[in-house]
């Protein structure tokens, strides 16, 4: 009885036509050539077509994208012919408005008794969302791969050595520069290898600091010398920062080693210079203080015949200090790029003549000037004088026994060349390239070569400002010729 009742209920509730039309999936029946002969409302809704425009008017292939249509002809139709059914192909259908949606497409062939297909029943399930997720996943993966390549490229291109390590310090990534510096293949490196590449003098300190930072999760910043594959040590600034996750646990350390070798060496040079400069200033200052003490004692006897002599000596020392401080100020200006050049026309011969006065009177040098006495030169007379005086002073200082000094200048097509030539001991070839460097001092020691090592550097900078060049020609045992050039055309610099 109950069964009967259920059956009756079902016939009331379930109308096969409604069930067909309102099903949550698309139903379509077409002939072997694709002509649609039956279609449900769901699919019509998806396609946005009224039934009368589809039935007997459209073929199933009409709704497929071109790619889908080719696939349908090449794969679906033969497949259906031989197997009688096809399951779950992923197709894209086009709506009346030209938009697309994705379906899973399955079909069963209805055959006559001769085995020929008379119609095809198909079921379509909308899987647009799933397709979209797949697409998003795919593009996310592509994007991620692209970013990864970008980052790798950047990491490899940066001049720093870059690495990452696990929280316990195991190195798990090194960039191309890192691999190059130590010449390791496969981009594999260990903490032990890194430690053993550190200069022995820096090792202990680094290890202690690093262990401490690892423990506390603090940022590391440490200078040390790293040995490259050629066995050469270069100063590096090693930095390492921890990367935390949301739970404030360290998941990784990111590190870099920046080559600071030049900087470090420059600093060392500067330190040396400061000590030299202090020493240089101290000598005349000590003398001055001594003289002032004597003068203090002589205050009561202002008529003392020694007074004049002491004042002269005090003056000399004060001048020495003044000149040293002047040089320091010049260097300061040069470093800050503030050396000013005021150009004007001046007579070069007269200028050189003036520079030589004191050498002629104070020293035992025979000075000869060779050059056109009428030549007018465009430049900063005061600065050029400074250069020539410096060249002369150098000759006096280093070629004391030379006895002869020739100052010559001649005109070339584009420039004027001025040379100060002595017949002193000459300069060893290996030292020549450094003569015009800042803080360079010929390391023969002894007070006779006193100075800050700044003179020639300042000369070079002045000449450079004028657009000219400086240089030395020297032959050991025969003498040296310090020269500079000045461009002739006033607009050249």
């Amino acid at each position: 009885m109950a069964k009967e009742k259920t059956k009756e209920l079902l016939t009331h509730v379930i109308d096969p036509e409604t069930l067909y039309d309102q099903a949550p999936c698309g139903y379509v029946t077409f002939k072997p050539d694709g002509s649609i002969i039956k279609i449900n409302q769901t699919l019509l809704n998806w396609l946005n077509y009224p039934a009368e425009e589809v039935l007997y008017k459209k073929k199933f292939g009409d709704f497929l994208s071109k790619g889908g249509h080719i696939h349908y002809e090449m794969f679906f139709r033969p497949m259906l012919n031989v197997s009688g059914s096809v399951k779950e192909l992923s197709y894209e259908l086009q709506t009346r408005q030209g938009t697309h949606f994705h379906v899973l497409f399955g079909a069963v062939a209805l055959k006559n008794k001769n085995g020929q297909i008379v119609a095809v029943n198909a079921i379509l399930t909308d899987n647009t969302d799933r397709k979209r997720y797949e697409q998003e996943l795919l593009s996310a993966r592509k994007q991620a791969e692209k970013e990864k390549l970008n980052l790798q490229f950047l990491a490899d291109l940066t001049p720093d050595l870059i690495w990452t390590s696990t929280p316990d310090g195991t190195i798990d990534y090194i960039n191309a520069r890192f691999a190059d510096y130590f010449q390791v293949s496969e981009r594999m490196f260990t903490q032990e290898k890194f430690l053993s590449s550190i200069h022995p003098d820096d090792q202990t300190e680094f290890q202690t600091t690093w262990a401490e930072k690892l423990d506390h999760g603090d940022v590391l910043s440490h200078d040390l010398r790293l040995r490259n594959y050629r066995g050469e040590y270069r100063w590096h600034l090693v930095k390492s920062v921890p990367h935390y996750n949301d739970q404030r646990e360290i998941v990784k350390w990111f590190g870099s080693c920046t080559d600071i070798n030049e900087h470090k060496l420059a600093l060392t040079k500067k330190d040396e210079f400061i000590s030299v400069a202090s020493h240089e200033l101290k000598t005349p200052l000590t003398s001055l203080i001594g003289i002032l003490q004597v003068l203090e004692n002589l205050k009561s006897t202002p008529s003392s015949p020694m007074l004049g002599d002491f004042i002269d000596r005090a003056n000399k020392n004060a001048k020495k200090i003044n000149s040293l401080v002047g040089e320091l100020l010049n260097v300061g200006q040069l470093t800050a790029g503030q050396l000013r050049i005021n150009k004007e026309y001046f007579n070069l011969y007269e200028l050189i003549e003036n520079c030589c006065q004191y050498v002629r009177t104070e020293h035992v040098f025979q000075v000869t000037i060779n050059g056109n006495p009428e030549l007018q030169v465009y430049g900063d007379a005061g600065r050029i004088e400074q250069v020539i005086v410096n060249y002369i002073n150098n000759a006096v200082k280093y070629a004391r026994n030379s006895g002869q000094l020739i100052i010559s200048f001649d005109e070339h097509i584009e420039y004027i060349k001025v040379a100060v030539t002595d017949n002193g001991p000459g300069i060893p070839e290996e030292k020549i390239p450094f003569l015009f460097d800042r803080f360079y001092r010929v390391d023969t020691g002894g007070s006779q070569y006193a100075g800050l090592g700044l003179g020639l550097y300042i000369c070079a900078e002045i000449v450079k400002k004028h657009g000219g060049q400086v240089g030395v020609d020297s032959v050991l045992g025969q003498g040296s010729s310090f020269w500079f050039t000045l461009p002739i055309s006033p607009d050249q610099h």
Binding site: D33, S65, G67, G68, I70, E73, M74, P78, S83, E92
Partner: protein, 270 residues
């Protein structure tokens, strides 16, 4: 370890060559893209009584030796044409009646231009010397269409075909069909299929048609979007000694969908 085979044997193994039927006249059937030699099963029976039928799979399809696949060789249709000639050589075939479906029509044409002595007659089913439209030429495809097909093939190879095979294999009354589909659609290496599709659809063999000296037949289907009527007519008018027959069968695979009509047309020609 690979067993060292005699060159002839290795070719027969490479292309999974099968010889069936009785008769002196040889018929060589070459399957199209996306299928294998079993796509001929609805027509071969009509020929085995009177002909010696040679079937094979292209490398990368069906039961061919996938290890023999190389992108360098099969990067153009000539590589496939070479294989046809090698099969003829290995079996000492002469005066063959060649039946090629889809891309195989052009592969056969290339082989026949190179070594006409191997061939007696050529049957092209749905041939196309160029799929892409060109100035003054209708191939039926724009580049974008093909890119969409490739994308489509990728999604169907990698996404859903795995769920397809078991359902097909459950075909109780004709179990061999299950095997056909499983092998045709799943045993073909997706990478090979992808390359084969590109080689096929980007090929241009229009210039080769005029070089053919062998008598040929073009079987053109009605409503074939892969090789439209205009293409069939082009083949007919540009190939010396070519006969054109337009079938009532629709689509691209008349030998599968309408085997009777197809057999009749081939028999009338040979």
């Amino acid at each position: 370890m690979a067993v060292q085979l005699h060159p002839m044997e290795s070719i027969l193994k490479r292309n999974n060559v099968n010889v069936i039927g009785n008769g002196d006249q040889v018929m060589l059937f070459a399957h199209g893209f996306g299928c294998d030699q079993r796509s001929w099963q609805f027509v071969v029976d009509a020929f085995t009584d009177d002909y010696r039928v040679v079937l094979f799979d292209y490398v990368g399809s069906g039961k061919s030796d996938l290890s023999q696949y190389s992108s360098a060789k099969y990067g153009c249709l000539d590589g496939y044409a070479q294989d046809i000639l090698e099969v003829c050589e290995a079996l000492s075939l002469r005066d063959v009646i060649f039946v090629g479906h889809s891309v195989s029509a052009m592969i056969g044409a290339l082989a026949a231009v190179q070594n006409p002595e191997y061939f007696k007659k050529l049957v092209f089913i749905g041939p196309s010397p160029r799929y892409l439209n060109d100035e003054g030429y209708t191939g039926g495809f724009e580049r974008a269409d093909l890119e969409s097909l490739f994308e489509f093939m990728d999604s169907n190879y990698l996404g859903w075909s795995s769920t397809m095979a078991p359902a097909i294999m459950g075909n109780a009354d004709r179990p061999e069909l299950g095997a056909f589909l499983t092998n045709s659609f799943c045993a073909t290496d997706p990478e090979v299929a992808r390359e084969f599709a590109r080689v096929t659809f980007f090929s241009d063999n229009r210039a080769d048609l005029a070089k053919l000296t062998i008598e040929s037949l073009t079987l053109q289907c009605d409503e074939d979007i892969i090789a439209p009527l205009a293409v069939g007519e082009y083949v007919h008018s540009h190939t010396p000694k070519n006969e054109l027959v337009i079938l009532k069968a629709t689509g691209h695979c008349p030998h599968i969908s309408e085997p009777v009509e197809t057999i009749k047309a081939i028999k009338a020609f040979i």
